[in-house]
Symmetry: C2
Subunit: 307 residues, 2 copies
Amino acid sequence: MKDKVLISEVGPRDGLQNCAGVMPTDLKKRWIKSLYEAGVREIEVGSFVPPKLFPQLADTAEIVAFAKTLPDLTVLALIPNLRGAQAALDAGVDAVTLPLSASETHSLKNMRQSHDQVIKNVVAIRSLFNEAPEEKRPRFEAGVSTAFGCSIEGHVPEAKVLELSDRLVEAGVDELGLSDTVGYAQPLQIKRLIKKVREVVGADRVKSVHLHNTYGLGIANAFAAYEEGIEVFDSSQGGLGGCPASPGASGNIVTEDLVYMFEAMGVDTGIDLDALIACRHFLSEGLPGEPIYGMTPNAGLPKGFRS
Amino acid sequence: MKDKVLISEVGPRDGLQNCAGVMPTDLKKRWIKSLYEAGVREIEVGSFVPPKLFPQLADTAEIVAFAKTLPDLTVLALIPNLRGAQAALDAGVDAVTLPLSASETHSLKNMRQSHDQVIKNVVAIRSLFNEAPEEKRPRFEAGVSTAFGCSIEGHVPEAKVLELSDRLVEAGVDELGLSDTVGYAQPLQIKRLIKKVREVVGADRVKSVHLHNTYGLGIANAFAAYEEGIEVFDSSQGGLGGCPASPGASGNIVTEDLVYMFEAMGVDTGIDLDALIACRHFLSEGLPGEPIYGMTPNAGLPKGFRS
């Protein structure tokens, strides 16, 4: 199994998007800088979505510009469509992620797009990126959301996830991530679906998972994904997050506990846990009243613990 | 992998022992009866320890007598020594569990006994039980506590756990459980140690694990143990528990989330999740102000979920 994994911090996007309050831009920059200094090397810093719908992320272009000053940081942004892709390209992101919800009901509610429309967007975005000079071309990821179940449709057939994964790769994405948007996944399902999707699109196309902790299984699901060979794990400081279009979805898996698990297992994350935990004060400062999760920060590191 | 597991509810012992308040005996009986009606078939109902030290468990004999009226329920009690074993035998328990801490510092602090003293106790208890008529003879388990680390000693050598496991079986226990008393375990370690202990004492002697959620890895550790063939899982409603002699240890893994994981994976626990969740009110009623954990109860069961 891998002796190194990449933690992709999604708090500044997935976390903030789902909080009632708006974190001030300056505080957001200081939070991102501190995460970087703690050793985080991939951050989803924002989303190119209409500022009217998501005022929390209205400063994404400015945040991208700031994050790009941090050496060796992969600066990732979410894009919902071609317009977002153009904005991301203009802003100079290293990578974009476009969600496609395996539950079409959720896709229509969350993105107002059918599956066919999303696939058309992917084709158009691929063309746009191909026209850009190679050094400016972002890595193009798609996140297959509600891949493990949907709080509107309930069960999501695996055949649907496989079909969409295939279509996304055909349409031109570089990589796929599997997202448990509402936290319905269980560890055996995680292993089974990763294996099946990899059989369809190739193992090197499926590097990441995005997990939520709605039922307390998030870290168990991360372990299962790790056992299955996944090497990139989305998570959110303090477990911020959820989904505006998914009733009942609670936060992302907690970065602090996830990093603790890997470091305790001897798997290198490159992250200094004490420094990471120290970054939590940005949340209590910038988002007063927001629930902040995580067991490791309260427990203190084990006696004799070394990363 | 097993299509059926046994959830051994330890809340009435491990949970209550570590709470400041004392749950009234009548409420405790109603809680145990409701857990039983929800499908729980093994409960650690108390501990035969000095009532002066643990007033929360002073009614253990009465609780055992009550629990024995519930058909097919395995009534388990903790015993620290020969005197406790006699009391457990007199009370008519189905099974006893005796803790032996792999960290001798913890053993001395928690039980005021060295390893040698505990092993001597085991020999004496085995004789006592052998003198009892067979139909009254309790199953004799030992829990190897701090098997994955100790908040006083820090690292606990695996060789020590293997040596003590061997000595416990030689001295006459029927079964061994591995206890992560302070929540230091990580999933790869869980798998490795279960495998090693089974190699020493035989797979059929190691059926259970006792896990805590101090660092948020408890459910991941349970999944790892399940993958390794473990079929009995201690857990505590609402994640009550800790350890009076272990600074920093937080609660047991949460029964509600553990049952959710297994039922979601299609592994039968025999427990009705809605009925189990309904039992939480005994905790808020009987232990006002005590923190109660668990994600599943707040999330509500997934759309379309069936046990």
